[in-house]
């Protein structure tokens, strides 16, 4: 698929999900569908973070990225789950691990 078409589809999906309740006000689904809507983004974020930090080269290995993971977890707790705090302390952990183990 052409990159441009792919980006247009990503834009349509993203904007559609943002606009759906603003175009016409309605209730968020409840029950099983509602619970899936709640937990899927969290599961996806964690899966993306895990593959990026535990297996940056496509296989699980001990790399400085694990220092980033540890720093990110510490940062999340230390800064009351702030996005910026998680990233900054995670990046510090990554650089510390990189200096120590190369």
């Amino acid at each position: 698929m052409n990159d441009l078409i792919l980006i247009l589809l990503v834009a349509v999906i993203t904007f559609g999900s943002r606009a759906v309740f603003l175009v016409r006000r309605r209730q968020v689904p409840e029950g099983l569908v509602g619970r899936f809507l709640e937990v899927f983004p969290l599961a996806l974020f964690i899966a993306l973070a895990t593959t990026g930090l535990a297996a940056p080269d496509g296989y699980v290995a001990v790399t400085p990225a694990l220092g980033g993971a540890a720093g990110g977890v510490v940062g999340a707790f230390a800064t009351r789950r702030s996005l910026v705090g998680t990233i900054l302390i995670g990046a510090a952990g990554y650089w510390l691990a990189r200096m120590l183990v190369g």
Binding site: L6, T14, F21, R25, V39, L42, A47, L53
Partner: protein, 200 residues
């Protein structure tokens, strides 16, 4: 900063600079765009599944924002939807708790600042990115840390913690047994299905 990082990673993944800037111009979602770049080599299927999954979190945000801004014209509501990001939603929610009277105007201002920084940063990264080595600067790790940072505020209940544990375990298993294209979406789907069955 994240716009620059996205621009650098996107052109390294093979996107043309102008396509990279266009993506920030029309998608305006760091999570979706970083996931798209990370999964680009895996093909359009995994990209679209991941994008749809990430987009699910906008549904409750959209419903809440509709309540916060009240009756507005359709163009106003659509323009506020355009930049409905985790950051601007969080700011608007805080503003409502602080008693800011015109939340639509407040969010529009926040949107404008975020949008210009995101598109401008992407342009810088896309057009000077060829001279930057992302691995040397650790930019590729920032991508993973962004998702960790986005997950952190979503942790509210015991079920959320179980879903995190399941997603980590499923992702590690998926790395070992699934083709790269389906590792992330496969792991997230399994973790979310099990998590859905857990009642608070």
């Amino acid at each position: 900063m994240f716009g620059i990082a996205f621009g650098v990673l996107a052109i390294r993944a093979g996107l043309a600079p102008w396509v990279t800037v266009l993506s920030s111009f029309i998608v305006v979602s760091g999570a979706a765009q970083f996931a798209m770049v990370g999964l680009l080599a895996a093909g359009p299927g995994p990209v679209l599944i991941a994008t749809t999954g990430l987009a699910l979190r906008h549904l409750p945000m959209s419903a809440k924002l509709a309540d916060l801004i009240g009756e507005r014209s359709l163009p106003t509501r659509l323009s506020l939807a355009w930049v409905l990001t985790d950051e601007t939603f969080g700011l608007t929610l805080r503003a409502s708790q602080a008693g800011v009277p015109d939340l639509a105007a407040y969010k529009a201002a926040a949107d404008l600042m975020l949008y210009s920084a995101w598109v401008g940063g992407t342009a810088v990264g896309a057009f000077v990115g060829r001279t930057i080595d992302p691995a040397a600067l650790g930019i590729d790790v920032l991508f993973a840390l962004l998702f960790l940072g986005l997950a952190a505020p979503l942790l509210r209940t015991r079920r959320d913690w179980i879903v995190v544990g399941l997603a980590v375990a499923a992702a590690l298993l998926a790395i070992a047994v699934l083709p790269e294209a389906w590792q992330v979406t496969g792991a997230a789907t399994v973790a979310a299905f099990i998590g859905t069955a857990i009642r608070e």
